[in-house]
């Protein structure tokens, strides 16, 4: 500061590399290498043949003879996905399960987020803490808790028998119901938090104005609160829906052997069948379906942060 004059141009800037570029470069290169490039490799392997080798796939490019490069592009893995009904069924079922779970999260989460947003400052922070806390506790352990609740001699059955409502334990664990409960339970905080962030910014005087002008509370809610919280609902729904489509842990632990979810199919192809090319094709198919939703989520986020300014 004492010299006050112009500083000599830093070494790197002479080559057009600015400090700004350096700040972004490290995370940029990291994500490019470990997030984007891997997808290119998945794409490549999805076109390979299964091989009984380590790693279990055949090379896509091969030097044959002196200067000839042979490309073994093979669409069989994709064709296979559509000939065996297992994959299409699993995919359709995953989309269905994720959509229904998202709807339940929205129905349960909206009133909660609304209640938290309208609570007094002190209570609000406490309630918010209570939403965040399970989110920080291991997902695996929280899903495990439901095994203890739902199994044949579990807490719920014991309670119902003790009360006298039932005499034989109900089959709850390893059913679709158990899987839905698990997904809604695990993803509920992901719905509440963006909804709360959105509702918290709401100008509640709008509601008062509407009521002063003769609007009934539910009308005011329907005409003002609901449309204004659209971005929050969309963001929360995407945060639940997208990962839920590919969910593996919850169907594996609560869903039983018949719970056909695409994430589980991918896992089994990879770990049990060692069919890496088929697993890659499944991943690519799933990605193609989910990318539009991810782009949608990003545009909702952009709108939301633009609106906040």
């Amino acid at each position: 500061m004492s010299s006050g004059g112009r500083r000599p141009t830093p070494f790197l800037e002479r080559f057009g590399v600015t400090g700004r570029a350096l700040v972004v470069a490290l995370p940029f290169v990291w994500l490019l290498l470990f997030f984007v490039v891997p997808f290119v490799i998945v794409l490549k392997i999805s076109f390979s043949d299964v091989d009984l080798a380590i790693p279990p796939y055949k090379p896509l490019l091969e030097w044959v003879g002196q200067n000839a490069l042979a490309i073994h592009l093979n669409f069989n893995n994709y064709a296979f996905l559509f000939t065996d009904s297992l994959y299409v069924n699993a995919l359709v079922n995953s989309l269905k399960v994720a959509a229904i779970s998202t709807l339940f999260c929205l129905v349960i989460g909206y009133p909660m987020a609304y209640g938290i947003a309208r609570a007094q400052a002190r209570t609000r922070n406490l309630l918010l803490l209570l939403v965040i806390l399970p989110f920080w506790t291991s997902l695996l352990l929280r899903v495990y808790a439901w095994i203890g609740l739902l199994k044949a001699n579990g807490v719920i059955n014991n309670l119902l028998i003790w009360v006298g409502l039932i005499h034989e334990p109900l089959t709850l664990l390893y059913t679709p119901l158990a899987m839905y409960i698990g997904i809604v339970y695990s993803y509920l905080p992901f719905m509440i938090l963006p909804l709360y962030a959105n509702l918290e910014k709401m100008d509640w005087q709008l509601l008062e104005a509407a009521e002063d002008l003769g609007c009934r509370p539910y009308q005011a809610f329907y005409k003002i609160t609901l449309p204004l919280s659209r971005n929050g609902m969309l963001a929360g729904s995407m945060l639940v829906f997208i990962p839920a489509v590919g969910e593996f842990v919850i169907p594996a632990l609560l869903g039983g052997p018949n719970a056909l979810m695409i994430g589980r199919v991918l896992w089994d192809e990879f770990f049990s069948n060692r069919a890496w090319p088929v697993a890659s094709a499944v991943a690519m198919l799933l990605l193609v379906i989910l990318v539009p939703f991810m782009m949608w989520y990003q545009s909702v986020q952009a709108r939301e942060s633009a609106g906040a300014k």
């Binding site: 700040v23 994500l31 490799i41 209640g115 939403v131 506790t137 495990y144 199994k151």
Partner: protein
């Protein structure tokens, strides 16, 4: 505020929180149950701490916890560096080439199903090993790289939103007075966003500590993490030791979260007084 307490909202909140907390509570209660059946209360011998002692002598779980701890600490520290840089770049540089791509790359790991990320990382590591010989085999290094890739996305969001709420005029003033950008960052920006960085570190730690799917894809022989061991046990049904593990996890997380939020509440009060 003319807001009437609605019974509907209060009921919804009560049921919602009961739904979120009763399962957690049941694990805590049954961790003191003597019976091996876990959910059938053995009134004669309970409550007992015997499963706590047996967990402390379970070598498999302790070894896995040690591996998880190493991965989680390295991951959290690395993710904080990468995520802070990314969050700072996104919040402060509103225009640069590739910003759209960069933004998309930092958002996508948040929602990407883990099976896809895990599979793609493993295939990358296999391809790298074949072509350049690194990483030789899979284990802690590859798991940490995998965890950092998705954890840094969370840190980015936390840091970016903290930077968006604080006024950049402070930074500009310092630069007008002749401070170098790098000095401004360390003297002004970093102390202000420190709470965000701390919660980013804790978040990254927890994400790594809990991760099952990406670890399963990227781990090698002899490097099973705690969630991997828990998963293989839980697949066979309930186990009293897992209830103990859950109870301990919940205690640590609760203490940590309550501590950090009290500290942050105090920091923001001080900030308000100063302003």
């Amino acid at each position: 505020m003319n807001y009437r307490r609605s019974y509907f909202i209060i009921t919804a909140l009560s049921f919602g929180f009961a739904f979120l907390y009763l399962p957690i509570l049941s694990m805590v209660v049954f961790s003191f149950n003597a019976s091996k059946l876990v959910t059938v209360w053995d009134a004669a011998n309970s409550p007992t701490l015997k499963w706590y002692f047996s967990l402390l002598h379970n070598e498999e779980i302790l070894d896995a916890a040690w591996i998880s701890l190493k991965v989680a600490v390295i991951n959290a520290s690395g993710s904080v560096i990468l995520g802070t840089l990314a969050g700072f770049g996104l919040a402060r540089f509103t225009q640069f080439r590739g910003r759209f791509t960069f933004n998309a790359m930092t958002t996508a790991p948040l929602v990407m199903p883990e099976v896809i990320t895990g599979l793609s990382l493993l295939l990358l590591f296999v391809a790298l090993e074949q072509s350049i010989g690194w990483p030789a085999g899979r284990g802690i290094t590859t798991m940490t790289i995998g965890h950092m890739t998705f954890s840094m996305a969370y840190v980015t969001v936390v840091v970016q939103s903290r930077l968006a709420t604080f006024d950049s005029t402070l930074e500009e003033a310092a630069m007008d007075l002749g401070a170098r950008p790098i000095k401004v960052f360390f003297v002004i920006t970093l102390p202000i966003i420190f709470p965000a960085i701390l919660s980013g570190w804790l978040l990254a730690f927890t994400l790594s500590w809990d991760d099952l799917v990406i670890s399963s894809f990227t781990s090698g022989p002899g490097s099973s993490t705690l969630p991997m061991v828990v998963f293989s046990k839980v697949r066979l049904g309930v186990s009293p030791e897992i209830n103990v593990l859950a109870t301990l996890t919940i205690c640590v997380v609760t203490l940590m979260i309550v501590g950090v939020s009290l500290w942050m509440a105090r920091a923001s009060r001080l900030e308000k007084i100063a302003a």
